[in-house]
């Protein structure tokens, strides 16, 4: 009994440590004070001014850029990664091992190495850095995760189904659409969500590939803000909203995963 109490309180303390900073942000999103940590009475003002825009035009455009880049990168890497996974699954063991190994490089590489290497690529090619370079960079570090979430679905599915469809006269395209994709869909969806969250959370790679033409994502905006000393108060409600959204997304994913196992 005592053991049990001790063990839950140890985990409890760790969780309090992990959640304390986030709770502070959420609590102080309901007050107007400019400086984080001052309580000047309960108010929704920060939430309303976040959505009104106008004054915080740069914040809302940064948010929009983040979402657009995240969606495009996630979409592109889901397609590229799913195709790659189907191909990799059908490769001979030797080449398969090689492609899988190169696939893990972007995952194991620290952000800053990926960032610098892509920066050098873009400057060597003489490309102007902006939307395109950021999206290409995001596809680079997102796709490996899609490959890793689609491959297990392929391993689990019955490959005879695809062959059977072909034997029964389906074109390869039709067999892909009717047989393969429905089987792979759960893995593709997990991969898409993972890619999207990785993209919107990224800071280092974005900073190195975004150029200096005034394009900002949420991360680079926060970074610039933090370096100036003060954090825009509207970032508090925004973080609170993002946290709750991610919470909901994670619950949905886990429910899906639980259902899949049944």
């Amino acid at each position: 009994m005592i053991k049990r109490i001790l063990s839950s309180s140890y985990l409890g303390i760790l969780l309090v440590m992990l959640y304390a900073p986030i709770l502070i942000i959420i609590i102080f999103s309901f007050t107007e004070a400019k400086v984080l940590g001052n309580w000047t009475g309960f108010s929704f003002k920060l939430y309303t001014s976040l959505f009104k825009g106008g004054v915080h035009h740069s914040l809302s455009s940064a948010l929009l850029n983040t979402l657009v880049i995240g969606l495009i990168a996630a979409f592109a890497s889901t397609i590229l990664g799913t195709m790659a996974a189907i191909g990799i699954y059908n490769l001979q063991p030797g080449p398969q091992k090689a492609v899988k190994m190169v696939n893990t490089i972007p995952i194991l590489n620290p952000d800053i190495i990926t960032a610098i290497s892509l920066f050098l690529l873009f400057v060597s090619l003489g490309l102007t850095q902006g939307y395109t370079t950021v999206i290409l960079a995001h596809i680079t570090f997102c796709t490996p995760y899609v490959v890793l979430s689609v491959l297990p679905r392929l391993r689990r599915m019955n490959t005879n189904l695809y062959e059977a469809a072909l034997d029964l006269g389906a074109t390869p395209f039709k067999a892909l659409w009717k047989i393969l994709l429905p089987e792979l869909r759960p893995g593709m969806i997990s991969g898409f969500i993972l890619a999207f969250t990785l993209s919107i959370d990224d800071f280092v790679v974005t900073l190195f590939t975004i150029g200096n033409e005034g394009l900002e994502t949420l991360s680079t905006y926060i970074y610039a803000d933090a370096r100036k000393g003060g954090l825009t108060p509207e970032l508090r409600p925004l973080s609170a909203i993002i946290f709750v959204t991610v919470l909901v997304l994670l619950i949905v994913i886990n429910q899906r995963a639980a259902k899949r196992k049944v």
């Binding site: 985990l11 969780l15 191909g87 893990t104 620290p110 919470l247």
Partner: protein, 266 residues
């Protein structure tokens, strides 16, 4: 011609080709460029100038050594705090354990800059000074889940029969832990160490925010050089970091394949 194209596309292993080309262009070539830039001088000729500079100028070298130190200490603290947590979670009934895993992973999905700034706010709130203490708190706070998850994963899969066998053969709880549980969990420990050590060594921006610009880590040195147009020197410093990381992951190659798979946290 059309037929040829169709049979080419129809062979599913050919579907790897776009991705292989993509990887070659956006992963292999950029890494090769780091090497090329590192061994070039400003005129583009082959030279060792950048490495000589790294060796001769104590500033970058000191930052590098200090960063390795911070990474080692952070990894150690994460291991000491994380192992008991993972162990306790592995002994829970599966449903509760699953909830715990989600609770530990969830904070990682808040933008790490916001999390770091929240840590700064927490220290202000508790009237604690920012500095080295805050730096370690922030690092452990950011990377602890990466240690807990792989260790929990391996402990949870440990064959209970082996532990029972040890007990039946007369081992006391301490011996059971030291001789059976701990050795069986080493793969989890090594991938946890890798998943904490490698990101910490390359962090950028966390240290400045937590120490009011008093402490600089190697990641920032890299960024400053690239930003100030010293591409060759920056590339050389990146290569130094890449070597360190290559050596670390070669030492436990088991850990690195596992770490890559577990990068897939959800």
């Amino acid at each position: 011609m059309y037929r040829k194209i169709r049979s080419f596309v129809g062979r599913r292993r050919n579907w790897t080709i776009p991705y292989v080309l993509f990887l070659a262009f956006f992963v292999i070539v950029p890494l090769a460029l780091i090497v090329v830039f590192a061994f070039s001088n400003n005129e583009g000729g082959f030279s060792f100038t950048n490495f000589r500079k790294f060796w001769m100028q104590p500033e970058a070298m000191n930052t590098f050594i200090y960063s390795v130190g911070v990474a080692i200490v952070t990894t150690f603290i994460c291991l000491i705090l994380g192992y008991p947590a993972a162990y306790l979670m592995s002994r829970m009934e599966p449903k509760r354990a699953k909830l715990m895993v989600i609770l530990f992973i969830l904070p990682m999905w808040v933008n790490f800059l916001i999390r770091t700034l929240a840590t700064v706010a927490l220290f202000d709130f508790l009237k604690l000074p920012l500095g080295e203490g805050a730096l370690y708190f922030g690092m452990v706070y950011n990377f602890l889940p990466f240690m807990i998850y792989p260790i929990y994963n391996i402990l949870q899969k440990t064959d209970q029969n082996l532990i029972e066998a040890a007990q039946d053969l007369g081992a006391n709880p301490r011996q059971v832990f030291l001789k059976t549980t701990l050795p069986l969990s080493t793969p989890g420990i090594s991938s946890g160490i890798l998943m904490v050590f490698m990101p910490v060594i390359s962090t950028f921006a966390i240290a400045e925010l937590l120490t009011i610009n008093n402490i600089k880590l190697f990641g920032t040195t890299l960024q400053e050089n690239i930003y100030n147009g010293m591409w060759n020197y920056g590339a050389a410093l990146s290569l130094v970091m890449l070597l360190l990381i290559g050596i670390t992951s070669l030492i436990n190659s088991d850990g690195s394949t596992k770490a890559a798979e577990e990068g897939n946290l959800i």
